[in-house]
């Protein structure tokens, strides 16, 4: 066993983790979902993104019941196009997780950069950046995401919309979420920039850029990590909300939210499984990531030690 791993296993952090059943359960659920999304092409029974591989006559198969026309059985049923719900969930997870991770990464980079600049430079630059952040905070994040999505839809030609939809989604969610990162990093930077090691770095003539990146940023990463985890849950929900409203992932490349939107049309007619299983998956994903984030916040908070 190498030392890094043994150090980690002996750490305070791991000890707390091993003593928290909620954290362990949340971690297991999250990892199961992430891994099954990653290995979707291997473990799925069909590729629901390839319309040529579907058989329409499989449409509306009940979970675990043999289809009268084709004789096939789907243990989670099929939707209106004959797509296997189990496979669509796996592929939908990929879209949801990809959008979630990318959006948070984008928000984190943007927010941390602006926060660092604002906190380190101070003065007018700080005021401008933080006022923009304050203004953005007065709008609900979903509204901002909808706005960005609408503008993007207006300027892209219709035949490319499906291709760019995912990237627009990432951009929209990322742009609606950077403020938290900026505020946290700015706060930490304000504290750090007057400490001796920063003063020392200034004295020996290091450039402001290098001080920000090499000296201050590493000391702000703890809280950023906590926010990132909680943001991930929110980004996944935001993506599902947008897709549910019909402005997110296209129907040919469904995310969990798109699947829930499709399933909603069939609630009255009793085909509950089209909506139910994707919804349960989304619930499990958002809940477990959120619980992990909460636990991480407590574990890294020195005041709760």
């Amino acid at each position: 066993m190498n030392t890094a791993l043994s150090n980690f296993l002996a750490s305070d952090f791991f000890y707390k983790f091993s003593r928290s059943p909620v954290a362990i359960a949340a971690f297991i659920v999250t990892m199961t979902l992430v891994l099954s999304a990653f290995f979707a092409p291997v473990i799925a029974t069909q590729n629901p993104f390839d319309p040529g591989s579907l058989n329409l006559m499989n449409g509306f198969s009940k979970p675990g019941v043999v289809n009268d026309f084709t004789g096939e059985t789907f243990f989670l049923g099929t939707d209106d196009q004959g797509r296997d719900i189990y496979s669509t969930i796996l592929y939908g997870l990929r879209v949801s997780l990809f959008v979630g991770f990318s959006a948070v990464l984008f928000a984190m980079i943007l927010g941390a950069t602006l926060g660092l600049i604002a906190g380190y430079t101070g003065g007018r630059v700080d005021s401008i950046i933080m006022r923009i952040a304050d203004i953005q905070l007065t709008f609900p994040a979903i509204l901002i995401a909808l706005l960005i999505f609408g503008i993007a839809k207006g300027i892209t030609p219709p035949s490319y919309r499906d291709e760019v939809a995912i990237w627009v989604l990432i951009l929209a969610i990322g742009l609606s979420d950077w403020v938290q990162f900026a505020r946290v990093v700015r706060g930490a930077t304000l504290v750090e920039r007057n400490k001796e090691y920063v003063q020392a770095a200034k004295l020996i003539g290091r450039s402001p850029f290098s001080i920000m990146i090499k000296h201050i940023l590493p000391n702000t990463l703890g809280p950023v990590l906590v926010i990132a985890t909680i943001s991930l849950a929110l980004a996944i929900i935001a993506e599902a909300t947008l897709s549910f409203l019909g402005v997110g992932a296209p129907p040919t490349q469904p995310s969990l939210g798109t699947l829930i939107r499709i399933g909603q049309s069939f609630l009255f007619s009793g085909e509950w499984w089209i909506l139910f299983y994707p919804a349960v998956t989304l619930l499990a994903l958002a809940l477990s990531v959120n619980l992990l984030g909460d636990w991480l916040r407590d574990a890294l908070n020195p005041k709760l030690k």
């Binding site: 319309p51 006559m57 209106d80 196009q81 004959g82 929900i237 129907p251």
Partner: protein
């Protein structure tokens, strides 16, 4: 979690808003369907839901009734002029007033016909054979056609009459250019002679109509509705929920998956009837190269074998069974059985045969397949987007990879009329009940006055001449023979890919007595409460 609580807040406030809508008096009819009328300008768009709203406000000379039979509206009688078979004489109804108080005279009729013949009109194909319209006196109009036109009255049932003075005063003597999104006064305001007057209009949100107190038809029609509140509800589940909860009184398009639920609900009934409308795919076979595909320098659809392969790949029975849940009649021709020229032989469609289709693709040299954009509306026909998705899968099986673009009809239709799409879904109803109407719009090559919806770009001078001859052929046997010849070419060339004829399902409160109109046109002056 503040985002979630905000979202819940939004949901709650939306519910409160919808709740407020449901307070109304007994004679109010709250009417909903998937899409809104595209424009109030009566000559700007020849489209079902647009005419459905216009029919309440404006009136034609001859109006379809609830069985789609023509009955006198603004004209009381009409006949071919004695001694001149090229002229129809229409006697106008006397004492009719527009909503603004102006009297209806022959001048208004002449003006409306001339307006409908202008370049920006979408109604011009219907009256392409009309040479001139003249007012003989205040209440007599003579319409002269290129040659004898025995079926002219059939073409006038959606040709609405406007007030000349009102149009001039508001600078709307030209139909609004719909494809360019032109907004004129007539797009949001209306002044007709119909049983209902426009009270307020918010496109895609809500339109309110009030009964016309001076309507000429008092005593002739039930006229029991005093107010119509029309709300388009695109989402199928929301639309059904609105009917189930009593928020609306009548929805014109009960989603096929919810028919059982609505029928079983207390106080609700579903009336159904086959619709005079065929749903089909249009394919651009006429251009030498396509804009929306990945084949360079040539048009794969120009090859008849590719078009036949697509027809073979299309499993119409599966679409009926799964997507339409039995609520459709698969067909091999783009006209429903109501229409003169329809035969059982035309209606026959091939059984899906992927192997035969693949073989045809191989023979055409497209065994490796190609990519193409498919355009589809998502709020116009029953399960339109689901049909396109299913078809995308079926075409995918023979190597044609489609990128589906499904969008609202206001964005979809201009792609067809502007000839920007190469593969698209369209539905076509035939209000004249004659094949000539279909030929004029969909088969004749695109010229100034014909072929405006011919997205196939099919262009055949011989066929064009035959289509033109229909307008003035008085010998009905000969005319029908020509119609059959044109259909033979349309079928042999596989210009279109027919899918099915729709079945209409109107869901309504059980105290409403209102039969389904085969053209999906509710004329609310006939509606009775019991």
């Amino acid at each position: 979690m503040s985002k979630i609580s905000k979202l819940i807040g939004t949901l709650v406030s939306t519910t409160v808003l919808f709740g407020a809508v449901s307070v109304s008096s007994a004679e109010t009819l709250r009417w909903a369907r998937a899409g809104d009328s595209l424009t109030l300008d009566p000559h700007s768009q020849n489209e079902g839901p647009t005419h459905a709203l216009a029919q309440q406000i404006y009136e034609p000379l001859i109006s379809p009734d609830m069985e789609a039979k023509p009955i006198p509206a603004l004209a009381t009688e009409w006949a071919v002029k004695e001694g001149n078979p090229n002229v129809w004489v229409f006697k106008l109804r006397e004492g009719v007033k527009f909503h603004g108080g102006e009297d209806l005279t022959a001048e208004d009729v002449v003006f409306s016909f001339e307006r409908a013949k202008l370049e920006s009109s979408d109604m011009k194909e219907l009256i392409v054979t009309i040479k001139s319209v003249t007012a003989v006196d205040d209440f007599t109009v003579e319409i002269e056609t290129d040659g004898p036109n025995p079926i002219l009255p059939n073409n006038l049932t959606n040709l609405f009459i406007m007030d000349k003075g009102w149009a001039e005063a508001n600078n709307v003597t030209k139909p609004a250019e719909f494809d360019d999104g032109e907004e004129t006064y007539a797009v949001r305001n209306a002044n007709g002679t119909g049983a209902f007057m426009l009270e307020s209009r918010e496109p895609d949100v809500k339109t309110v109509l009030k009964a016309n107190p001076n309507y000429w038809g008092k005593g002739q029609f039930p006229l029991e509705v005093t107010e119509i509140v029309y709300t388009p509800i695109q989402n199928a589940a929301t639309r059904v929920a609105a009917l189930l909860s009593g928020e609306v009184d009548l929805i014109q398009d009960v989603p096929v998956q919810d028919l059982g639920r609505v029928q079983a609900a207390d106080g609700l009934i579903v009336n159904n009837a086959p619709q005079n409308r065929t749903i089909f795919f249009g394919i651009n076979s006429g251009d030498t190269d396509l804009k929306n595909d990945n084949v360079e320098g040539k048009n794969p659809f120009a090859d008849l074998k590719v078009r036949q392969a697509m027809s073979l790949a299309l499993d119409r029975d599966a679409i009926k069974q799964v997507v339409m849940r039995g609520q459709s009649a698969p067909t091999g021709v783009i006209i429903p059985p109501f229409v003169n020229g329809w035969t059982e032989a035309l209606d026959a469609y091939p059984k899906a045969d992927i192997d035969a289709a693949k073989k045809l693709m191989d023979e055409a040299g497209y065994g490796g397949g190609f990519e193409i954009t498919m355009n589809c509306p998502n709020d116009r026909y029953v399960n339109d987007e689901a049909i396109c998705q299913a078809a995308a899968g079926m075409f995918g099986k023979i190597g044609i990879k489609t990128n589906l673009v499904a969008q609202t009809k206001a964005n979809h239709f201009p792609l067809i009329s502007q000839k920007e799409t190469d593969l698209y879904l369209l539905g076509w109803g035939v209000p004249t009940f004659d094949s000539e109407y279909v030929f004029n719009f969909l088969v004749h090559s695109t010229t100034d006055d014909r072929g405006s919806w011919n997205g196939s770009r099919f262009n055949n001078a011989d066929i064009d001449a035959k289509i033109q001859s229909l307008g003035s052929e008085v010998d009905l046997d000969k005319r029908n023979a020509t119609i059959a010849e044109i259909w033979k070419v349309v079928q042999d060339e596989q210009i279109y890919l027919p899918i099915h004829n729709q079945v209409l399902n109107w869901g309504m409160k059980s105290n409403i007595d209102f039969p389904v109109q085969p053209e999906d046109q509710p004329h609310f002056k006939f509606l009775k409460f019991n």
